[in-house]
Amino acid sequence: MIALMREQWDLLLEKPWLVPVLLVIGFGLAFVIPEYNLLSVYVQLILMYVGINIILAVSLNLVNGFMGEFSLAHAGFMAVGAYTSVLLTMKVLPMSDFPLLFPCAVLAGGLVAAFLGLIVAIPSFKVRGDYLAIITLAFLMIVKSMIENIDFIGGPRGISGIMKFTTLPWVFFWTVTLVWMIRNFIYSKYGRGVLSIREDEIASDLMSVNTKQVKLFAFMLSSFCAGIAGALFAHLLQFISPRIFDITKSTDILIMVYLGGIASIGGSILGATLFTVLLELLRPSTMAALLSWLPSFIFDPLNEHFISHLGVWRMVIMPLALILVMLYCPCGIMGLREFRGFIPRRDREAHHYINPQGKSPHGSIDGH
């Protein structure tokens, strides 16, 4: 009986119309939920955070996981996208007349971020590994310092009063589009170039992979997505300031990527979702509400000694959980693996050989 159900399930997953139908359903839900308030505004907000974090995690995974570099600049690209799009919607575009110009502003944010990604990619031709990490870190600091010094865009005070253009349908649209773009990039010839660079850059150069071009494209695509995520984020939060886009933000995105699994799109989606949801879940009031079905004699002391202090202790629990995950699944929860749906049919068999279990990408600690 179970075997029969499994068979039917596998057959269903193979059907070509599955993905478009799911997308349509998802898009429909994305419209219906805010219209009729099927879920509270708070949950909708969390869903939108999840979507934005998915875009950030998947795009960072492209550079850090698939290409094997260590980029710390993601928050910087996000900042650039955010500020560009906000400047457009607030100062340049006639948004009140044509509210549908929002995707243009978002796109512009992504393009400017991509251009900066180009600039960051150039040092990467000559500089490798951890030295590149420093360049990306320095880039992040420079972006932050520049924004703080330009008073026209608010300086350290930031920009407030941004119109709330980001809605659930838009987040859904951009998340799906960008994940699809990255997935196609990875399974294209450029993506194979990316994987080969990760394994051995010099060898791939010798094997006529145009490493410069591949790196350029990868960085640009990654920063393009970060810029779009930044634009969406700005129009959701309605307030941006340089403090928001600091090294802590980059570290958060890194954690999402490595938690979910390197070189895995499904992993990044999982990591982003888990990170965002868990952080909200561990709020004392939410925990209390979730556990309120426990009988009183267990709940009351639990509440007093543990849950009410969660406000402070949840930031201690999160890193501990991260360490534990790293110790037991060093590549992340879904490291190097992928949901079947993301891999194009022709690559299914090959995927198993490209990322065999146990073999580590770019060298383990002992240098081999």
Partner: protein
């Protein structure tokens, strides 16, 4: 492992459903829910802790007096506390949660402007009353697109431009300074705003700003900036910094041989300043929201109750939070029914609230109160009142 992988998304979905259902949309008719957003984690946990303590004190006092009566029926107050980790996106999440999930009637906090401004936007959009105890940034109560004040957002303290002006005037008129040096945190709202305002007023009144130096949040070494300031020869140094920075800067300044007095903002006003600066700020001045040594009877009552319950003297965040709660209780008492707009209307008509931090009065159409500042001096390791500075 595959089973675990497919379980994880399932777990996420179940959690979302639980999250969605766990808020009680129907208002429990017999209590008043008030939300409190404070910085319990992040880089200013002291501020959050003070604020939370004062709020809890206020709530326990009013509940033991029988709660608040609305149209004759007494209601107890329930305080729902959320942490915003001193971050903007968490402030937004907390505000949204309190408004839509917990259906509070009003929100108090956040304190730091970084969190207060986004939370204020959410409150305004959802037509819920928000009163921030400590945020001095003018943007919090201002609707930047229209330039007009927000209608649902209030604050219990004065604003940065006011503070900068007051201090500049004090420095010129009472200290007789002609040349001033300024040192502020370039990455932080309030200090930059106060520094700019100070320089503007100081120049208007005939003074000369001989040095205008900056540092970034988190810096510890100010030797380069202080050397530069020393060689510019000022009469006073304006230092609108948070008290933990002041401790370091003052010590390094004295060590470098700078003897001129330092003048600071309300961010100096924690008792921790004395501990952290170990004598380097002796004789220096700063602006504050209230003074313990000229305490009115209302203030004294609060100070004693706070000290008794928590063991240390309340700082200005605590006093302002207590006043914010008090203002809210006033508004609730005056409001004809337990509904967000009615409470907000009642708040805007408060014309004479005498709180711990002085007399507070709202002019119609603005969320900023008419209040005076106090200038304090550090003498014998204590804060001593010097004078009041009216707007």
């Amino acid at each position: 492992m595959r089973k675990t992988i497919s379980l994880a998304p399932l777990f996420v979905v179940i959690t979302m459903i639980l999250l969605a259902s766990c808020g009680d949309p129907t208002n429990k008719q017999d209590i008043i829910k008030v939300g409190l957003i404070v910085e319990l984690t992040g880089d200013m946990p002291a501020v959050g802790a003070s604020s939370r303590n004062a709020a809890q004190l206020a709530v326990s006092e009013i509940n033991s007096a029988g709660g608040i009566a609305i149209s004759g029926k007494p209601y107890p107050i329930e305080l729902i506390i959320e942490d915003n980790a001193s971050k903007a996106d968490q402030s937004v999440a907390a505000a949204n949660k309190l408004i839509s999930q917990d259906t509070v009637v009003a929100i108090v906090g956040p304190n730091a402007s970084l969190g207060a401004i986004p939370a204020a936007e959410i409150a305004e959009y959802n037509k819920t009353l928000l009163i921030t105890p400590w945020s001095t940034n003018p943007k919090t109560t201002l609707d930047t697109t229209s330039g007009k004040p927000k209608s649902f957002v209030f604050r219990a303290c004065y604003t940065d431009p006011f503070e900068g002006r007051v201090l500049a005037r004090f420095v010129i008129e009472k200290l007789g300074a002609k040349k001033a040096a300024v040192l502020y945190d370039v990455a932080s709202e309030a200090p930059k705003s106060q520094a700019d305002q100070f320089r503007q007023t100081f120049t208007e009144l005939g003074g000369q700003t001989v040095a205008f130096e900056t540092y970034t949040t988190g810096d510890r070494d100010f030797s380069a900036q202080l050397t530069k300031i020393k060689s510019s020869g000022p009469d006073i140094i304006f230092l609108p910094a948070y008290y933990n920075d002041v401790g370091l800067i003052a010590q390094q300044a004295r060590r470098a041989g700078i003897k001129q007095p330092l003048v600071g903002s309300d961010a100096w006003s924690s008792q921790e300043l004395i501990k952290l600066s170990s004598g380097a700020v002796e004789g220096d001045y700063f602006a504050n929201h209230y003074a313990t040594d000229i305490a009115t009877p209302t203030a004294k009552k609060f100070i004693d109750a706070y000290a008794k319950k928590y063991g240390n003297m309340p700082d200005d965040v605590a006093a302002l939070t207590y006043d914010a709660m008090g203002l809210l209780f006033e508004a609730l008492k005056k409001s004809p029914m337990l509904e967000r707009k009615a409470v907000r209307d009642a708040m805007s008509t408060i014309s004479d609230y005498s709180g711990v931090t002085g007399d507070i009065k709202f002019t119609p159409g603005s969320g900023d109160p008419m209040k005076s500042a106090v200038i304090m001096q550090v003498k014998d390791n204590k804060f001593v009142w010097v004078m009041n500075a009216a707007p």
